[in-house]
Symmetry: C2
Subunit: 233 residues, 2 copies
DNA sequence: CATTTAAAATTGGTTAACCACTTTTCATGT
DNA sequence: ACATGAAAAGTGGTTAACCAATTTTAAATG
């Protein structure tokens, strides 16, 4: 799963317009699962756009499972009917650039789940990794340095320990945007830093002791301020 | 957010090896936030790989917020310290291809949240959209036709109504893989289809009446079989 | 010596040519 | 008519050339 397709780009509008035209083409020609689309060259010619942009558009639709490109052969409609095809393309076209509030909301949802799963599934290696990030965080705070990075790595270590590759991937995907906004709005104040050391340690201990409910409870406390912030923006 | 970057590819190994080398380079040269990386040409020369692959690797790191490419200028280390850089690149390199179990686990987590949010935030337009997908689903089932697509679109309509663009995006991202596996393992049996019509209708009504708890409860019932299946695989 | 400025080198991004392979076409032989 | 096979056309993927804008260099100017 390569989420890259969702990256923002100056060409996004062009690519979305191509996706729209591909959709119209599929409907007009009544293409069904397995049917072949016109070649990239023909599409770029017909739509009056570069082949690169056609390729990007196809890659995006391929990522969402709607098309399937086969080398030296062609691009085919995936095993998905015309109804789902239309519905999903509409959804894809209307995808908004994630806003900060939705990112935080999603992060909280993830972390309250990953912390429980981590408490159940964590391996010895996971614990070691988490402990390392925990110590690195404490050290930075004790030296009164900015520790946003170390804070983050601790949470990512939990996600990894959850044993859920999908959530781990998504956590990594939303992380950069979260950091950017945190620094932009100064979410993590230094006043809260010392308190956070204790909270991190408690979360770690709960996971280590495989106390699922306590782990979640401590994470909830840790997120308390984040909650408030999220809903006040 | 263009998740495309996470797509599987034959070049993934090469690109991951390039990412590894970029990480080593950043460490060796002690590059800090804002510092410039060698040009794409120099990197492709140094690593003995094509510039395209270097570009793909950089795009991936850019998606995860670790690098920032500026046209006609260069590629720069993002505003992220060396610790987070190393930690996150390690995480990125060790990302597993999402397995079916983790996909289902994530989907359930999402849907139990989106259904609650939808009950709170749904607009009249959302309701209209959901009703359409609901009716399309019923019609297919009554005609004893396969309705996997319509089932899916109903759930996507809920995700959209949740008003959370991040979860909406992620739901779309995991959907194709879910469908593929459903059809592969014949998860949705026709015996359950008639029952599902009623369940869908109840979920819709709960969202319409903004009964948050009931909406979640009905969704949980709807997922009951999915739960069992997921944990028996 | 400092300042200006223009030209040359360098950059990420884009386009066009090329490649290896597949698919189609159609002439040939039976 | 039909089967065979080779050649031509077509395919997605890859590489190399090109572009416009930036950055550096150094020569010209005061």
């Amino acid at each position: 799963m390569d989420l890259q397709v969702l990256a923002v780009s100056d060409n996004k509008k062009i690519q979305n317009s191509i996706i729209k035209k591909i959709k119209e083409l599929i409907n007009y020609k009544n293409l069904e699962p397995g049917d072949k689309l016109p070649s990239e060259r023909m599409l770029s010619d017909r739509f009056n756009v570069s082949r690169s942009n056609v390729r990007f558009a196809i890659q995006k639709l391929e990522f969402f499972g709607l098309l399937k490109s086969i080398p030296q052969s062609g691009t085919f409609v995936a095993n998905i009917g015309v109804i789902a095809m239309n519905g999903m393309i509409n959804d894809i076209l209307s995808l908004d650039q994630p806003d900060f509030k939705s990112l935080v909301e999603t992060r909280i949802l993830f972390e309250l789940k990953t912390v429980k799963l981590a408490a159940i599934r964590r391996t010895d290696e996971d614990l070691k990794h988490m402990k390392e990030t925990l110590d690195a965080y404490s050290e930075k705070i004790m030296n009164k340095e900015n520790a946003v990075q170390e804070d983050l790595l601790f949470h990512l270590a939990i996600a990894k320990a959850s044993g859920n590759s999908t959530m781990n991937t998504f956590m990594l995907a939303i992380t950069p945007e979260i950091i950017t906004n945190f620094e932009k709005y100064h979410v993590c104040d230094k006043n809260q830093a010392f308190l956070a050391i204790k909270e991190h340690a408690e979360i770690y201990e709960a996971i280590k002791n495989q106390d699922t409910m306590l782990a979640k409870k401590k994470m909830k406390i840790h997120f308390k301020m984040l909650y408030q912030y999220c809903y006040n923006i």
